[in-house]
Amino acid sequence: MTIDLEMAEIAKVFFQESREGLDVMESGLLSLGATADRENINTIFRAAHSIKGGSATFGFAEVAGFTHGVETLLDEMRNGVRPVTAEAIQTLLQACDCLREMIAATEAEQPLDQVRIASLNGDIKHILGEANEAPAPARAAGDEAAGTHAASEPGGWRVRFEPVADLLRLRNEPTRMFAELRRLGTMVAHADTSRLPLLDALDPESCYVSWNIDITAQIPRGKLDEVFDWVDSGCRLEFTPTGGSAPVAAAPGAAAQPQAAAGDAWSAETKAVSPNETKTVALAEAKAAAPADADRSAPGGAPAQKASGDSGSIRVATEKVDNIINLVGELLITQSMLSSFADGIDPNDLDRLRQGLSQLARNTRELQESVMQIRMLPISFAFNRFPRIVHDLSRKLAKKVELKLSGEGTELDKTVLEKISDPLVHLVRNALDHGLETPERRVAAGKHETGTLELAAFHEGGNIIIEVRDDGAGLNKAKILQKARERALVAPDQDLTDEQIDNLIFMPGFSTAEQISDVSGRGVGMDVVRRNINDLGGHVQIASKEGLGSTIRIRLPLTLAILDGQLVRVGKEIYIISLLAIVETIQVARERVNTLVGHTEVFRLRDEYLPVVKLCDQFGVEPDSRSAEDGLLVVLEADGKRVGVLVDDLLAQQQVVIKSLESNFKSVAGIAGATILGDGTVALIIDAPGLISSAAKQGVGAVAAHAA
């Protein structure tokens, strides 16, 4: 692999790391509002510094240039030179956004938004009070000027080098510097040992020697500066141009001459000193060698340390993981096939076969669980956006909000996580915009002027629950009901429970915001939120108390790859229904079933009429019986609607591996996917929300008419 390719690989790490750095900066800046804590500013500064250093190293000059301003501002803040104002924090937050876009654009090799960059740069410069300065380029130009100044290169140089006594202690080996000088041209060094003390006063770690060095080479002064760069401070260093082969001894050259002569006179001493020098080096190496042995005895120490630095995580392409999950699914199917096969045969060996199979079952399940774990991510990935969103929104809406997050470590499938992010943002915006009141109204209502918004995640059963809670005004039930009646979403004389009224807000085309704001509330939204959640096999509902606030509760499956299913039989076919969608299963009494106009059957469950969906008609299979009282009615719920699904029999409940029908065959209405059962047959998985909404379309009018 060439260096460039490898560097491009490492640049990817840089992009990822920069995004993480920006997250750190953002959350740091958001908490900076409350307390100007020094350690916090330091953390923010370091993140900016790393982005600057990395971008410069990987050749992203514009990112580096922009970050320089940010870094300077943060540096002044952490040194207490610059006050931490709300304005500065806001500008820095915008700079984070801008940087995030710059990094994305750089990674995608897209052009940068120069206007925005320039405008933010101006804002930062304004805060720094240097609107008309361009310090960095100015300095660079200065350096160049110095370089060109020395362009009239002499034929050689005489260098007088009197190092500080510490020279060797810092491991600045004069011999190495001499070697570098020798690379520049012909070099003769004369050691001046006149300051060498007597042996008993001699500190072997100190340097007492100075040098007069003659270099014959046409080189600019800058080359010499480079060689002596590290030892420049504190020592005496003089450079005198010489004429090289034609000695043009100017006045300073002449002044150096006697010293050089003295050096010549003592040149024999050079050898006497060098052994001394090598001895100290040898000493250091001997000491260094001892712990090298110790290292061998504790080899576990170093790698363990390294792992902890990387927080024990690996980056795996989702595609690869999906492949493994698929294979494990196949394994599961094989195992289940073997078990059903074992049920059929009956020799004496059966017990051992059963034993082996149960072991296989356990191993397979464990393997699957641990493979699924790879896809699991903590919900903090979704939650982390909210401090910023809440910060920005509350400023915009002039509301005071305290955001509380809990259960950030709760893990769920990566795909579920990605898809739940946007609905969550929508819910949070809604809560801020419509739920929480202005400080004045809150005080008037006898509440604290700062509202509370809570995001909580936790496990419940095999599901994950996410709750968005606010202590705002709650839903106005009278207004919701009125609006729902206006829009004919509810029959005029239909009685609804409080819970049912609240959940009307998830109906398409529903919005009670008095004024449409740019934050939320155009009447599209809550229904989309519910659809997205339903698409994930989840469920959402709201509970609200007027004046006290609302709680939106989202229930999601942990993963989309497997499902807890109820096997049902219709004739010879077996279908699978997600246990999440099943409310209850009942045997039907004839008198509770009514046939309505258009052959729609409805069923009275307590005081509710539910349309009956016959799977046999839906999928064109021959059932044991078409009559409802002979079969079982499985009550499904989605989107707040319920239907009764007529099946012949309930079979086992089991976890099934979901295979996409779309990618293996084609998309079929009413079917969410397929799976392979233990006996090798394919069973279709019922798309409960799809089935319900299509049944509701046909049936809701009829149900309403019947209820009337």
Binding site: I3, E6, F14, H49, A136, L168, E205, A294, G301, A302
Partner: protein, 120 residues
């Protein structure tokens, strides 16, 4: 035996770049992500050169150099700090803490190797 270099930086991309460059040139490289971890590693085993970033969480590079110089085994080990051009002050801080020299950021792999070759 190849020379062993301890590279300290809180940025994974910088560490990788340094690692890749130095390993490619035949050096053995151990890495640490901050001063505390570096000091721990340095105590456990000897290295021939320390390369450290300045700004790091827990313990910065200047403090690391000072701490290492205080260890008997590291009295004469060359130590280089990675610093940005603008911070002449940092270079001097580093020098006072006992650094041998510095590499100015940004640097490319060739510059890094040339600088390392100056002290190893």
């Amino acid at each position: 035996m190849s020379k062993k270099i301890l590279a300290v930086d809180d940025s994974a991309s910088m560490r990788q770049m340094v690692l890749f460059t130095l390993q490619g040139a035949g050096y053995e490289v151990v890495q640490a992500c901050d001063g505390v971890e570096a000091l721990e590693l340095a105590r456990q085993s000897a290295v021939d050169l320390v390369l450290t970033d300045v700004h790091m969480p827990r313990m910065d590079g200047i403090t690391l150099v000072r701490e290492l110089r205080g260890l008997l085994n590291y009295k004469f080990v060359p130590m280089l700090i990675l610093t940005t051009e603008s911070s002449q002050e940092k270079k001097m801080d580093g020098k006072r803490a006992g650094a041998t020299g510095w590499i100015v950021k940004p640097f490319n792999p060739q510059q890094l190797l040339a600088t390392v070759a100056r002290v190893l």
